[in-house]
Symmetry: C2
Subunit: 156 residues, 2 copies
DNA sequence: TGACCAGAGGATAAGTTATAACATATCACG
DNA sequence: CGTGATATGTTATAACTTATCCTCTGGTCA
């Protein structure tokens, strides 16, 4: 995630979300759009309260927590955003058009988060659940470690 | 987890924890023992505040949150207890002697939690991380679905 | 044996994350 | 327009977690 034109990421996410909402006839309101844009401010997780501050800085008059949480609920429901349970934080989904569970790589150093897309892995998870008599309706995998870049530049 | 003698589960967990602490020369104090016992009161996750209430009911004078969190920190550190991130709750580990990451099946109906022990799955996870340039220092998998028993008895 | 020290746990307060409950605004559609 | 449904604003509070400071206890060692 080093030096790319991140504006493109944001723009792409907003356009795709817009298209999906049109297709589904759901309401991509200005607030929801703004929150999605803020979530996409980087490839790092952001917390609800960071979003709150960012929204306020962005010129709106200070909003209260429910405003953010409701927007996030919508964005998660539509698949535009994932929640990182181990961080109580949120991250934009790079592929909202395809329904999937959240599997993430989290760099403990630079906090970059990369989404894992691995069908074999998902199959393996479902299989493991079935082996023990459970159905798998939903699952989340969060892997903490060092990203490629931080591995190179560090000795810890 | 239907009708087993759960006292055996509790007893086994306490004995194993005691042995491990002796081996490691760490202090399994009465408070820590009591908290572990309470965590093991069932095969369901318990929250920190539930433990707080349980401790108080158990005759002690009301303790404050840090007391519980410190005990939990110790128990987690020693591997006796896992934290379920998606529930902000805690569950006893059935195999504390062997270091491993937490992979769980959670029944959304009866809340029974079963720990998954699956080496192939862990290898698969590590491989997926490496494929994307990440190391895997730590990982957590939480699968939500219905357990065998609840599948049989329900139509939702 | 007694001075010292480290670790455990009690007490208070505060920080962080999330939701309930109710009021108001806006939209969609007949 | 009017009405119902959905979105957002507002206030308060619940739920979860940590920081800080202090006391007590049990072990170590001069």
């Amino acid at each position: 995630m080093s030096n790319h034109n991140h504006d493109k990421c944001i723009e792409a996410a907003l356009i795709e979300a817009t298209n999906i909402c049109v297709a589904r006839n759901t309401r991509f309101t200005p607030l929801r759009k703004k929150v999605l844009e803020l979530v996409w401010s980087g490839h790092n997780p952001v917390t609800a309260y960071e979003l709150l501050d960012m929204l306020s800085d962005a010129g709106r008059k200070r909003v209260a927590p429910p405003t953010i949480y409701r927007a996030l609920d919508f964005l998660i429901e539509e698949g535009f955003v994932h929640r990182l349970e181990s961080l109580n934080a949120f991250i934009g989904c790079p592929d909202p058009a395809h329904k999937h569970h959240g599997h993430f790589l989290i760099c403990r150093k630079c906090r970059t988060v990369t989404e894992v897309k691995d069908d074999a892995l998902q199959k393996n998870i479902t299989r493991a659940a079935n082996d023990l008599g459970y159905s798998c309706e939903n699952n989340m995998l969060e892997i903490m470690g060092l990203c490629h870049n931080c591995k190179k530049h560090s000795n810890s």
